[in-house]
């Protein structure tokens, strides 16, 4: 009853085009932000920051990156982790080799390098379509991992290519505590999340979807296909690059190239399948699912099935359940958790009545 648009008349296109048209949605969003920035740092404990919230935020950001490319622009990719690695290793080197470069700026530059790398591996998509693009993203995945493993220069001659987080100093604040790392991650992810919402609602977002849905028609109405595709690769990889830096520096602290192997790419693909392709909200829902699900499973295993299941079995069991969930989502809810959420809010709007018009 409280959640409906009665009495809210939209009289300007500008008001119609904002992110949340419903006043209740806006208030809800501000409350969510306020609690994430103020309440959670006060109440949360170190376990929640380090093991749940930070990886959740970073994976949401990575999901956004892949969602631009796959969910919006329709280009399949199995190389997400490669661009994360490029971001992390570039940021590390900028920070290491440029005297006095602020931490945030090195992360940003890492994202830019990842974006450029994305453009290079996106070039074949101009000549080929569909599954063929996969090979180029796989090339990125294996080539990048090989470069960072084989050339010690990138990890400052450390053994087996491990890189370690630089001091997390932002504007003179030391953010190396779990709560500090959480706030740093949250700030970056919120800013890039809002930007993402703008991107997909802008002309560029429309062009991506046009290329995804019908590229011949897109070309015929004058959309520049090469520019559109390459921007998808660039912006996608930029986001993944930033996510890679955060993964290495605010979540793990140290990371080796192996941390960005093809399984990480799969993980990010699963986030967008479960969360919802072509949705910004979906990345958060999918990432939350992927972080919480194993925690939940191991709690169940420890609580109910003590002694029945060892960790190896649990891992296999998780894999099976994961696979079934993916197939289940594709069959029943191809637009993922985001679409379930959307249906729910639609029902809420007309409650206690049952039907709504779109």
């Amino acid at each position: 009853m409280l959640y409906r648009e009665a009495g809210q008349f939209i009289t300007h296109y500008r008001a119609d085009q904002r992110l949340f048209r419903l006043r209740q949605d806006r208030i809800g969003f501000y409350l969510l932000l306020a609690s994430a920035f103020v309440l959670v740092p006060y109440c949360g404990n170190d376990y929640w920051f380090s093991a749940i919230l930070i990886p959740f935020l970073v994976l949401s950001l990575a999901g956004m990156g892949l969602n631009f490319l796959t969910g919006y622009a329709g280009q399949l990719s199995l190389g997400s982790a490669a661009f994360m690695a490029v971001g992390a290793f570039s940021a590390y080197n900028f920070n290491l080799r440029v005297e006095g470069l602020p931490f945030l700026l090195s992360i940003l530059l890492g994202g830019v390098v990842a974006g450029l790398t994305g453009v290079i591996f996106g070039l074949p998509s101009l000549k080929i379509k569909g599954f063929y693009v996969l090979v180029s993203t796989l090339a990125a995945q294996f080539f990048v991992q090989w470069v960072f493993t084989n050339f010690a220069w990138f990890s400052n001659d450390s053994s087996s290519g491990v890189i370690t987080a630089p001091p997390l100093d932002v504007f003179g604040l030391d953010l190396s505590s779990p709560a500090g790392r959480y706030l740093l991650t949250l700030t970056i992810v919120t800013a890039l999340g809002l930007l993402a919402a703008n991107i997909v609602r802008s002309e560029l977002g429309r062009n991506w979807m046009a290329v995804r849905d019908m590229d011949t028609a897109a070309a015929v109405i004058g959309i520049a296909i090469p520019k559109t595709k390459l921007l998808a690769f660039a912006i996608s990889s930029f986001y993944l690059g930033i996510a890679g830096s955060l993964w290495a520096f605010t979540y793990l602290g140290t990371v080796e190239p192996h941390g960005f192997d093809i399984n990480r790419s799969f993980q990010i693909l699963f986030i967008i399948i479960i969360g919802g392709m072509g949705s910004i909200l979906g990345n958060f829902l999918g990432a939350a699912f992927i972080v919480l699900f194993p925690v939940l499973m191991s709690h169940i295993a420890n609580g109910l099935l003590v002694g029945v299941m060892d960790s190896g079995h649990l891992e296999n069991f998780q894999k099976i359940v994961f696979g079934m969930l993916i197939i289940g989502f594709l069959i029943k809810e191809p637009n993922g958790l985001a679409s379930i959420w959307q249906t729910f809010t639609q029902q809420l709007r007309v409650w206690p009545l049952r039907y709504w018009s779109h």
């Binding site: 180029s136 080539f143 693909l269 696979g323 594709l330």
Partner: protein, 293 residues
């Protein structure tokens, strides 16, 4: 120079193994338009099942038949519970479903049979011998012979049997095939079953070479460049593509690798396939589609 030829022949023979995995791919792609990422896990699953049965002292032939039956049951389950529910969905959706499938099959294989490495002895001597000054392995020759006969059997199957002809009809136009009364679901079952069989053969050969272990499911990734070079719809293409990938990655590793610090065979096939695509987008044996609007 003879060293060069040895590397070349070794690579070609390794390539035969890639071809075997790629053939399973092509069969399913042709019949149902599905880009089956789970082919690699099917290879793993069948090899693991076979080895585990052998270890429980089943005779060779019985283990083979039982494994084949299990692969057929698997095919039935996939057809019934996955493919049938995803009819008319986009190819990308189907691809992602097979990705989920590969997780299920890998999880299943390892929780049933454990994650340790199993040795597999097919009773074929793997000691090299010399022909015309080249060192060859008996096992590699056996593998190529198996691959060769498989290709011959499959092409006879496709060209001579009713089922094979129905399969080609479905590949050409599924709707028209339905309209003339072809039982699509039965065909899918057959194709996934045959792909399971090819997977078993590939799994045995790979397993005998490298040990039956989890990494078998990763050969699926190497099959992708093979398909791209050979074309997604051609069994001949699989063989040729496999040989090209196998030979070139070994040659590159031996002759270019040292200058780059080694390990380049991990990415070389993908880069090769990428460059190849720029020249021949439909592959060597693939058909180029004219887009109708």
């Amino acid at each position: 120079m003879s060293f060069f030829f040895e590397v070349l022949v070794g690579g070609l023979l390794a390539g035969v193994m890639y071809s075997l995995v790629a053939i399973g791919f092509v069969l399913i792609y042709k019949a149902s338009g599905v880009f089956n990422f789970a082919q690699g896990s099917m290879v793993l699953f069948s090899a693991l099942t076979f080895v585990s049965l052998l270890e429980r002292s089943y005779p060779f032939w019985l283990a083979f038949v039982l494994t084949l039956l299990i692969m057929l049951v698997l095919a039935w389950v996939i057809e019934r519970w996955v493919l049938r529910k995803l009819v008319n969905r986009s190819p990308i959706t189907l691809f992602m479903a097979t990705l989920g499938l590969s997780y299920i099959i890998e999880g299943l294989a390892q929780s049933l049979w454990g994650a340790q490495v199993h040795g597999l002895d097919l009773g074929i001597n793997d000691e090299p011998f010399e022909v015309l000054g080249l060192l060859l392995s008996q096992f590699d020759l056996f593998a190529s012979a198996v691959a060769g006969s498989l290709v011959i059997i499959l092409s006879l199957f496709f060209n001579k049997t009713r089922t094979g002809i129905a399969l080609r009809a479905v590949a050409d136009d599924p709707l028209a095939a339905l309209a003339v009364g072809i039982n699509l679901q039965r065909l899918w079952l057959i194709v996934w079953g045959v792909a399971g069989f090819v997977g078993l053969v590939a799994g045995l050969l790979w397993g005998a070479r490298l040990g039956v272990q989890f990494s078998l499911s990763l050969v699926v990734l190497k099959a992708l460049p093979v398909l791209i070079i050979g074309g997604f719809t051609s069994i001949t293409g699989c063989i040729v593509g496999g040989l090209i990938i196998g030979a070139s990655e070994k040659l590159a590793e031996i002759f270019i690798g040292p200058y780059l610090g080694g390990g380049i065979e991990n990415w070389f096939p993908y880069v090769l396939a990428m460059l190849f695509l720029l020249v021949r987008p439909a592959g060597l044996f693939g058909e180029r589609q004219i887009e109708r609007v």
